[in-house]
């Protein structure tokens, strides 16, 4: 992801135009090639020396912020380590104190070389090495151990994605519309959203279209950074769709002025394919592990599959199956979000879900009353208790089986 100072874009008439780079641009391609080639040679080099080389390699017709952005992404592929050698702080203390004593005694000329050489005697190093080692604990002195190679094509794609991701960290709301998505695409994108802990409302506004609305981090009161990072990780899933429209309301710049970022497949923004989904969130996995141990009569399945509802889809976090009658309750665990969005989600499930369901939610997110879903909500502080979840699931199944 790019930092704020590396984002290139301008707001015109309330719309943010990000300055993505064109992979077909020879100058950009050449810059990316030069930087990758440079990073390929840096293992064993000091960080400061690499920075100097980057400045030289980045010279040319391309805007220097692009060069810095590409280098920023390449740094993320490097492993760094402090240089070997004596403890720098201890060495400094010794050398500077010896120098202070020499200065106070009025020795002329100031015996700089002798002080450095004396400090090196016990360490078995010469004066020049002592001088170099004095500040070897500064970040600029770190040595690059390794660099994970990348092609220039992928680097440029990563840059464009990183631009969008950086913008999304400032969003209040994101709406993704997909035109005629294939069923496997629907499944993949809904699961990706769910696994990234995003509370989406997937709707079918018209036949053949799927719309997903997500709160942006700037619309939350808590856990905004975590939510923003998850939204950023979700972005490639949206941008790789063959037919999509992506609209994000943003608070932009130091004044946090409202503006909108719109991207569609027609923009041909060249982004990388998303990486494989890691799987259910830690919270869901932790609950499933605990619940599996505690209640042998229930089987907990974390392999979330989209379920069709009257108005769209729902991807529950868990399927709880009671072994005695093989009946299932679908469940969500909601740990963060906006109280209003949580309430809207509950109302939607109450109205449209066609399967038995329940929602466990952090109690601070349940400030909005939802009477129609009251008997299906389980508030928790840190994590839902399996015993309470299964008690509620049992009561829901029992109720639904009554004539």
């Amino acid at each position: 992801m790019l930092t704020g100072d590396l984002i290139r874009g301008r707001v015109q008439r309330g719309k943010l135009r990000l300055s993505a780079i064109d992979p077909a641009d020879d100058d950009v391609q050449s810059l990316a090639d030069r930087l990758i080639m440079l990073f390929g040679t840096v293992p064993g080099t000091r960080r400061d020396d690499v920075l100097t080389s980057i400045n030289l390699a980045a010279e040319g017709p391309v805007n220097p912020i692009v060069g810095r952005g590409l280098a920023h992404l390449l740094w993320q592929r490097c492993e760094l380590s402090p240089p070997p050698g004596p403890n720098a702080a201890k060495l400094r203390s010794e050398v500077f104190r010896a120098a202070a004593r020499a200065r106070a005694s009025g020795i002329e000329p100031f015996p700089r070389e002798k002080i450095l050489a004396d400090a090196g005697v016990s360490l078995g190093i010469d004066a020049a090495t002592v001088e170099r080692a004095l500040f070897s604990d500064l970040p600029g002195e770190e040595i690059v151990l390794s660099f994970e190679p990348i092609t220039s094509e992928l680097l440029i794609r990563n840059y464009n994605l990183a631009l969008v991701q950086a913008a999304l960290l400032r969003s209040t709301r994101v709406v993704l519309t997909l035109g005629r998505p294939r069923p496997e695409a629907v499944r993949a994108i809904l699961r990706a959203a769910r696994f990234h802990r995003l509370l989406v409302a997937p709707r079918k506004p018209s036949p053949g279209r799927l719309e997903l609305e997500v709160d942006g981090p700037a619309n939350l009161l808590e856990e905004t950074v975590k939510h923003g990072m998850q939204l950023a990780c979700f972005a490639p899933w949206a941008l790789c769709q063959p037919k999509f429209h992506f609209a994000a309301d943003l608070l932009w710049g130091p004044d946090r002025s409202p503006c909108r970022l719109e991207i569609s497949h027609q923009d041909a923004l060249d982004c990388p394919q998303p990486s494989a989904i890691a799987g259910p969130s830690r919270e869901v996995q932790a609950f499933a592990a605990l619940a599996g141990k505690e209640e042998p009569d229930w089987v907990v399945n974390v392999d979330a599959e989209p379920i069709e509802t009257d108005d769209g889809y729902w991807v529950p976090d868990l399927h709880l199956t009671r072994m005695s009658d093989q009946r299932t309750v679908c469940m969500d665990i909601i740990t963060r979000g906006r109280p209003q969005t949580v309430a809207a989600h509950l109302k939607r499930l109450a109205k449209h879900a066609q399967v038995p369901w329940l929602v466990a939610a952090n109690r601070i997110l349940l400030t909005e009353g939802v009477p129609e879903a009251e008997d299906r909500i389980l508030p928790f502080r840190a994590m839902p208790l399996p015993s309470e979840v299964f008690a509620l699931a049992t009561s829901l199944l029992d109720k639904s089986s009554r004539p």
Partner: protein, 458 residues
């Protein structure tokens, strides 16, 4: 407690008003409807005026926000305040326990604040810009108030009824401390109006607030925000009012330095290239937007980038001119029995000096344990010279320092006054000296003129 649904709750630097009687906003314009959760909300800063209004209008409410305590601090013993300290506390108290006090460095702002803390008698948070200052404040507060004082910042998390915190941590941890302190003290308060730091003031409910600074003026005019965040200017004294009696006597000396012939050639070439670009593009570098205009133009094309590099080159040559190094060597020898602070404008020069003259470097990179060691050795005289860029510009108490050598710096009088302030604290019968090394016939001459535009140099 009367039964009411109207609650005031602290949340993320704001006050959430739920169940407020209709028409409340007519009397309290700061509260606005928050579309995120449909509550009425205002910055926590308005707590004092909100509660005052509710009491005045006899509106029953449940205050779930206030979590700070009333405390009876023992008055500091064995030390009489200076007249200017007593006057400042009185002026601040008369203004309702809110406001800005401007006093030169070394005239006892800390002790004045301690008197104000005792007067307010509330849990207190002191906000300071650096870890050195946090440590310094903690020591002074514990010595004078005879209580355990907490400190937060640099990995430390020790919250007490009186706590000292860095601006960075104050801004990051506002959710935690916002409702827990009834009195705030902002040290070096010229930092407070910054876009991020201001939230440390707006996100707290503290009704008592004191801002301390020697130099409130900011180049962006942000000082006007202090009135909103803390209160009005209630007391002000300048260096010239207090020098000699409450501050050490001092002299300032500007030393002109010549560039070596090869440096001059390289410098002039770079300066001409930079000037040609500026003139060609019609950029007025003396205008308030001059620097921004230059950066914008320089980032547009290769020619601009070349000009920017030329600008940087001529600056680097001047900042690290060999003549300055020779002069510095002479000054170090001349004042070998005194404590010397060397100031530069950048860390790279600090480390160059440290390697060349074998003097300790103190920058933002210096780890806390080493900082403490360096400052303590400086006080004791074991390490009588410190090279620094900006870390020691403000606040840090180095009373032994008698000589300041400015190798390079910005053109703002604020920085220069702060640097002068480092050596002015009274210590025995010392007479302070501030040397300013300036390269003749370079951009530094104008910078030097600008930074001396303060009555302390007249």
């Amino acid at each position: 407690m009367a039964e009411t649904d109207f609650t005031i709750q602290f949340r993320a630097g704001t006050l959430e008003l739920r169940g407020a009687p209709s028409g409340l906003t007519a009397h309290f314009a700061a509260a606005v409807k928050d579309p995120r959760d449909r509550s009425l909300r205002c910055a926590a800063l308005h707590y004092r005026s909100l509660v005052a209004m509710l009491h005045q209008r006899k509106v029953t409410h449940v205050d779930l926000a206030r979590s700070y305590a009333k405390i009876s601090f023992a008055a500091p013993e064995g030390r009489e305040p200076f007249p200017h300290q007593a006057e400042a506390v009185e002026a601040w108290w008369r203004a309702g326990g809110r406001g800005v006090v401007v006093l030169p460095t070394g005239t006892g702002k800390t002790f004045m604040a301690i008197l104000a803390i005792v007067r307010a008698g509330r849990s207190t948070l002191v906000v300071a810009p650096t870890l050195e200052l946090v440590t310094q404040w903690k020591g002074e507060l514990e010595r004078n108030l005879k209580i355990k004082v907490g400190s937060v910042g640099g990995g430390e998390r020790d919250w007490q009824e009186v706590t000292v915190i860095t601006y960075d941590s104050a801004h990051l941890l506002i959710d935690y401390w916002g409702p827990r302190f009834g009195m705030l003290v902002f040290d070096e308060a010229h930092h407070l109006p910054g876009a991020t730091y201001r939230h440390a003031a707006s996100g707290s409910i503290a009704p008592f607030r004191l801002a301390l600074t020697a130099t409130p003026e900011r180049t962006d005019g942000g000082e006007s925000l202090l009135n909103y965040l803390v209160g009005p200017l209630v007391y002000r004294r300048e260096i010239t009012d207090l020098a000699g009696e409450y501050l050490a006597g001092y002299t300032t000396e500007r030393i002109w330095v010549e560039l070596k012939p090869e440096e001059r050639e390289e410098h002039d070439k770079a300066r001409d290239a930079y000037r040609a670009f500026v003139s060609e593009r019609g950029i007025d570098t003396s205008s308030p937007s001059g620097w921004r205009d230059f950066i914008t133009a320089a980032s547009r094309d290769p020619e601009g980038r070349e000009a920017f590099r030329a600008y940087r080159d001529q600056r680097r040559i001047v900042q690290r001119a060999e003549g300055k190094m020779e002069k510095l060597e002479q000054l170090l020898a001349r004042h070998s029995d005194e404590r010397i602070l060397i100031f530069t404008s950048d860390n790279a020069t600090v480390y160059d000096l440290a390697r060349r003259f074998l003097v300790p470097a103190l920058t933002h990179r210096t780890k806390p344990a080493e900082r403490r060691d360096l400052l303590s050795a400086f006080h004791s005289g074991e390490l009588p010279v410190l090279a620094t860029s900006r870390v020691l510009n403000e606040g840090v108490d180095v009373p032994a320092a008698a000589i300041g050598i400015v190798l390079s710096g910005s053109g703002t009088p604020r920085e220069h006054v702060q640097r002068l302030g480092r050596i002015l604290r009274r210590s025995g019968d010392k007479r302070a000296r501030l040397y300013e090394l300036v390269v003749r016939d370079s951009g530094e001459a104008a910078i030097s003129k600008r930074r001396r535009d303060h009555n302390a140099y007249r």
